[in-house]
């Protein structure tokens, strides 16, 4: 490896370490913008791409875009004809904006979007599609006018983009804690039989406990599940997968 590519790598690894430790989305914007700046990028956006009736502006996670450009882009609904957004849905590999294909004759709006982006200082850029288990989840797209587009620089931006996106998602939509079961195993047992239509007396016979004890377990389960009555408790327990029938 050449000395230069080692430096590209080191910069990217340092960025990853730092971005993973950041506590706020604003800090991610600042650090990512600064890191991209070393390769000549001036703007970036981390966003989902709208499907069906979704609104683009509600899918944006982080951005460092010229204010005028974001206003124009959303007002004009550019996302629908942006060749970069269209190409992002077609590939898993990062690509330069300039390589996103469109036919200026058939899609004059696409040509207009690329021209207006250039007016805002974004003559070219790099787009990284982010795929999850169910397909395209997001895209990270960075632009500027004087970019280092060497393979090593693009590789560094590719790597950093994925980690910036992951941190943004962690900070903006924190993962739910894995759910701990609320009910004891006895309560689950009683609720399972209840869900199957058995009366307290019948459950008592099955489990060899008294009917009042069964009712005590039901009451305790209702309390833990915040349920108004026995039927409600059964529904909540099934919904939480603490009871399977």
């Amino acid at each position: 490896m050449t000395g230069q590519s080692v430096d590209y790598g080191r910069g990217a690894f340092e960025f990853i370490e730092r971005v993973c430790a950041l506590r706020s989305a604003t800090d991610v914007v600042r650090l990512f913008h600064e890191a991209l700046g070393r390769f000549g990028y001036e703007t970036f956006i981390i966003t989902g791409l709208p499907n069906g009736g979704q609104r683009f502006e509600q899918l944006v996670l982080l951005k460092h875009w010229p204010a005028g450009w974001f206003d124009l882009y959303t007002r004009e609904g550019y996302i629908l004809d942006d060749p970069v957004a269209v190409q992002c849905r077609r590939t898993v590999e990062p690509f330069e904006w300039a390589s996103a294909p469109y036919d200026p004759q058939r899609h004059p709006r696409s040509a207009e979007i690329m021209r207006r982006a250039a007016d805002f200082g974004m003559t070219n850029g790099l787009c990284v599609p982010i795929h999850g288990f169910v397909g395209l989840e997001a895209c990270v797209s960075a632009g500027g006018s004087d970019l280092d587009l060497s393979p090593q620089a693009k590789a560094a931006v590719h790597l950093m983009a994925i980690y910036a996106c992951n941190r943004a998602r962690q900070l903006l939509a924190p993962l739910a804690e894995p759910r701990k079961p609320l009910l004891t195993s006895r309560e689950r047992e009683v609720m399972t039989w209840t869900a199957m239509g058995k009366s307290a007396w019948e459950i008592g016979c099955i489990l060899r406990i008294s009917a009042p004890t069964v009712n005590k377990h039901v009451a305790s389960a209702m309390h833990k599940l915040g349920a108004a009555n026995k039927t409600h408790a059964v529904a909540r327990a099934i919904e939480r997968r603490e009871v399977n029938i």
Partner: protein, 213 residues
Amino acid sequence: MIHVITAGNRSLYASELAQHHLIRHEIFVKERGWSALDRPDGRELDGYDTDETIYLLALDEGRVVGGHRLFPTTRPHMLSEVFPALVAQKVPSAPDVYEWSRFFIVRERRSGRTYLRLMAAVQQLCLEEGISSITAVIEMWWLPRFHEAGFVVHPLGLPQPVEGVATAAVMIEIREESLARVRQLGDLPASVLVRRGDSPPLVRRDGYRLPVQ
């Protein structure tokens, strides 16, 4: 469920292992076009399919539907022999670091939860066997999937194109939190592993207990 196949119980899985080499050929050579792996006998196997290889195979009534393998990094392994150029510094090598490779899923299972089961399987096995991290050569577009599954992934070098696809060497931490996250994501049971027969621990077998359900 995912079956753990080691030197100790390999004889119990002779037909499944034979089947898995044919499926690997089908997927890696025919579908993915990795022509360097082509062999006239229609099986895909290489120098890292040895007695020391641990296979994790997703079986459905005797049919192999997916899998992957682990290989000790204390031996010459893929990262040290085939892809050292993907590593910026030193290729990790330690008794508690294994190399993870040949992740595959048959076509008809790719939209299901088999992915998540196989990802949970590697974390669970490594936790149970005292393996603290695994190295792997991955296609970059998979990295967000690992993130989604809660895996902590450290790049070992910058991505480079391999057969036209951006590819990187990574080190993945083995963590209970990652297993918990992937289990939650796939709504998986406390254990996704099936173990038959006895086999000695790969590193040590005293540090991890399955969560009670």
